[in-house]
């Protein structure tokens, strides 16, 4: 995608891959240069390890304790697997939160992401006004999820919101409490989240489609394939790298879901999510850090799935 702005010597066969003469190259550098390079990588790496990976490791360790967040944590806090046992068998909110994340993922994967791809495919045809449509669908992407939450509260608010007013649903006997009814509020905030997600996916997919070799399409057309077949048989397979990216984004977004639910009602009453349970346990008046960390470990383990998928793709393209 970025190849349009590469420097002049693009014909060089090594461009984009590691140089073959490892040792030779390395020896050209002076000792000073090598030290500088070491620092260039080392300082950011150190920050990354101290502020991201060390806390991650600490969370894992804390999950085996009953630490209450006050003072120091020591061996007397060690409780083995107790937090995990309780989480899986005693804590009534773990499985609902887990399934809400699953529903979130399913919704994004089967509804929002396909809509985004569909929009991208439509806009990939050189229609007049493509730029306009693209701008409109893209607009929510720049907004924070907090603002998205506020904007949609104006739609969903029970007596003052647009939806209930427009459809005459504000009287006591037929009022729909979009954000307060635990059977529907998850879907209400999913609509809000999708408003942003669709544009995001569309933009990414569209850029991928633009880079597809047009001769592929021509060839398919010559073979008499219709648009539908062309997309699924020819374009979609060629887009494999982008498809992976889209899948990873969708999964990570579903696992990270937090802001809208937190804004709406602090993630209770049908809006429980793993990220919110972590926060409400660890960062609360009672500060159940040990237990909150156990939930964090579960979220971490699940997140490693898409992360590994993504990294293996990166590795494949790099080596």
């Amino acid at each position: 995608m970025a190849t349009s702005i590469t420097p002049a010597r693009e014909d060089s066969p090594e461009a984009g891959e590691l140089a073959p003469t490892r040792r030779g190259r390395y020896n050209v550098l002076t000792r000073y240069d090598r030290r500088v390079l070491m620092l260039m990588v080392g300082i950011p790496l150190l920050l990354e390890i101290i502020f991201i990976w060390w806390p991650t490791l600490s969370s894992i360790l804390l999950s085996f304790t009953n630490y209450d967040g006050v003072g120091d944590v020591g061996p007397q806090n060690f409780v083995g697997l107790k937090n995990y046992q309780f989480m899986f068998s005693g804590y009534t909110l773990f499985w609902p939160a887990f399934f809400h994340n699953v529903i979130w993922l399913a919704w994004l994967a089967f509804i929002a992401t396909p809509i985004g791809i569909f929009f991208a495919v439509l806009l990939d045809r050189e229609l007049s006004g493509t730029a306009f449509y693209q701008s409109v669908f893209f607009l929510p992407v720049v907004l924070s999820l907090v603002i998205v939450g506020f904007i949609w509260e104006l739609q969903f608010s029970p007596t003052e919101g647009f939806i209930n007013n427009a459809f005459g649903l504000t009287k006591a006997n037929n009022i729909i409490d979009w954000l307060g009814n635990p059977r529907i509020n998850l879907f209400a905030i999913l609509i809000a989240a999708s408003w942003r997600h669709v544009g995001y996916i569309m933009v990414i997919y569209l850029s991928g489609l633009k880079s597809v070799d047009p001769t592929l399409r021509e060839a398919a057309k010559v073979d008499g394939a219709n648009e539908f077949r062309t997309f699924f048989r020819v374009i979609f397979p060629v887009m494999a790298p982008i498809n992976t990216v889209v899948a990873v984004i969708t999964t990570i977004e579903a696992l990270r879901a937090f802001d809208i639910a937190f804004i709406v009602n602090q993630g209770k009453n049908g809006l429980e999510l793993l990220s919110i349970l972590i926060t409400n346990n660890s960062i609360s008046e009672a500060s159940l850090v040990g237990f909150g960390s156990a939930i964090a470990v579960i979220l971490l383990v699940i997140s490693l799935g898409p992360i590994i998928v993504f990294l293996s793709r990166v590795m494949r393209t790099t080596s």
Binding site: G90, P158, T159, A172, D177, P182, N265, E285
Partner: protein, 467 residues
């Protein structure tokens, strides 16, 4: 009632003075129940008495406070009316205390409470606003609050023994200055009741009948809002208190009674008789929005704390606040009606032990606490709003707004007083993903069989690390 003010202590443990009213009540108290009460908060007047048996460590006064300099307050008073009240008191303090510079850090009510643990451990302000009861003792026990026995020594003559007990930690030290309290009751607009000729209901049947009538009259009978999760606890408290009695309620909050008890099921059953009259879509409303329903005459009644009046003041129409009135929760026909128990939480100011500036500001901070202990300061604070009742003995009741006077009376009529569910029980049980969530789940279909819900409540309680 103003004639018998001033320091007065019930000599015998058989009688007690009601804070701020001068009314004496007979109480029976059994010291063996002390353990139970320890967990549930000095929630009752009886407990107030019991706790005054402890010795107060004494400090020589005189060098406690300091003038000039600076200090800071961490405040959850983020709504417009109380925020202005605090600012007024702070200004008065600054000019009275040699120009002490006061920095106020206002954080919204919800976030302040959720992050209080982190806040107190990190770099808190010198003074912070908080709640009495279990919630105060919780942080005292964790070593995050600074004892203020010296301040208390200077000001204790201005408080009844009941308040004295409410600010004591488990270790006998004093950790807070109580500055206001307020009852929970059923609020209504006088003009609406007059216009429609509604009568104040004194028993449950009349109450429900009134609800039905209001519904016919196209009013929302009971304003109700539970988006924030905690307001529903107020209804649970009062029903449980009146149906199962003070002792059972306190035991339930403290874990001695079981959530699976059929008595709890009865509370939920009774509650279900009331829920059909609630504001539509209440789980998506904030208490402020429900208060506006009452103010705008869309709703007839509202069970909430006295702070509901803030929304009547901030509405801008002076007549609104004059029309606001309340009546006590109707009798349910049980043996516990006579307790007249109700929630009357006490709000306090505390010193944050880990405040990085407390070392230098200690004198100023203590001067502020002493300032807040004066009736005149408390009246300054609440002049703009009748949202709570001053706690100081020398607060002049003739300066109270009418609603405040009446509120003081209803508390004095109660033989048993609780703080509020989330102040009487442990914080990890009353949070958003615990009791708040359980009550919301109940309210989503009140007619349900609650036995599985009660089972979950109990198993959640059992899972908590013993305190």
């Amino acid at each position: 009632m103003g004639d018998s003010r001033g320091p007065k202590i019930a000599g015998s443990s058989e009688r007690i003075l009601i804070p701020g009213t001068g009314i004496e009540l007979p109480v029976d108290f059994d010291l063996s129940r002390r353990d139970m009460l320890k967990i549930a908060g000095y929630g009752s007047l009886a407990a107030f008495i019991a706790a005054c048996g402890g010795t107060t460590p004494t400090t020589t006064s005189g060098s406690v406070t300091a003038k000039g300099g600076s200090m800071s307050i961490g405040s959850y008073l983020s709504d417009a009316v109380p925020k202005k009240g605090l600012q007024d008191v702070v200004d008065a303090f600054t000019s009275a205390n040699g120009g002490t510079k006061v920095k106020v850090n206002t954080v919204d009510h919800g976030t302040f409470q959720n992050t209080i643990n982190n806040y107190l451990q990190a770099t808190p302000e010198d003074i912070f606003t908080w709640f009495s009861g279990h919630r105060m003792r919780f942080f005292a026990k964790k070593g995050l609050a600074q004892p203020i026995d010296d301040v208390w020594n200077d000001v204790k003559s201005n408080f009844t023994e009941g308040f004295a007990a409410s600010v004591k930690g488990d270790d006998g030290h004093v950790y807070a200055v109580p500055t206001s309290y307020y009852p929970w009751a059923i609020f209504y607009r006088k003009d609406v009741f007059t216009a429609r000729n509604y009568k104040i209901p004194t028993n449950w049947d009349d109450f429900i009948k009134l609800c039905q009538q209001m519904k016919k009259d196209n009013l929302i009978p009971m304003a109700f809002a539970d988006k924030d999760g905690w307001p529903a606890m107020g209804t649970f408290d009062i029903l449980n208190l009146r149906m199962n009695g003070y002792d059972f309620h306190v035991g339930l909050c403290g874990g001695q009674q079981k959530w699976t008890d059929p008595k709890v099921a009865n509370v939920f059953k009774k509650w279900a008789e009331l829920t059909p009259y609630y504001s539509p879509a209440f789980a998506g409303l904030t208490w402020q929005e429900a208060a506006q329903q009452l103010r705008q005459k869309k709703a007839g009644m509202y069970l909430l704390g006295l702070f509901v009046s803030e929304q009547f003041v901030s509405g801008g129409n002076a007549d609104d606040i004059n029309q606001l009135d309340f009546f006590p929760f109707p009798d349910l026909g049980t043996q516990y009606d006579s307790e007249k128990a109700l929630d009357a939480p006490i709000d306090v100011y505390m010193l944050a032990k880990k405040s990085p500036t407390l070392g230098t500001d200690s004198g100023q901070a203590k001067a502020f606490l002493e300032f807040m202990s004066k009736g005149s300061s408390q009246i300054t604070y609440w002049k703009a709003s009748p949202g709570a009742i001053p706690t100081a003995n020398d607060a002049d009741p003739s300066q109270y707004p009418a609603l405040t006077k009446k509120a003081a009376q209803i508390v004095s009529g109660a033989k048993r007083i609780t703080q509020f569910f989330d102040r009487d029980s442990r914080p990890d049980f009353s949070g958003p993903n615990a009791m708040q969530g359980f009550l919301l789940r109940y309210l989503s279909s009140p007619k349900q069989d609650t036995s599985s819900l009660q089972g979950q409540m109990q198993s959640f309680w059992d899972s908590l690390t013993p305190e």
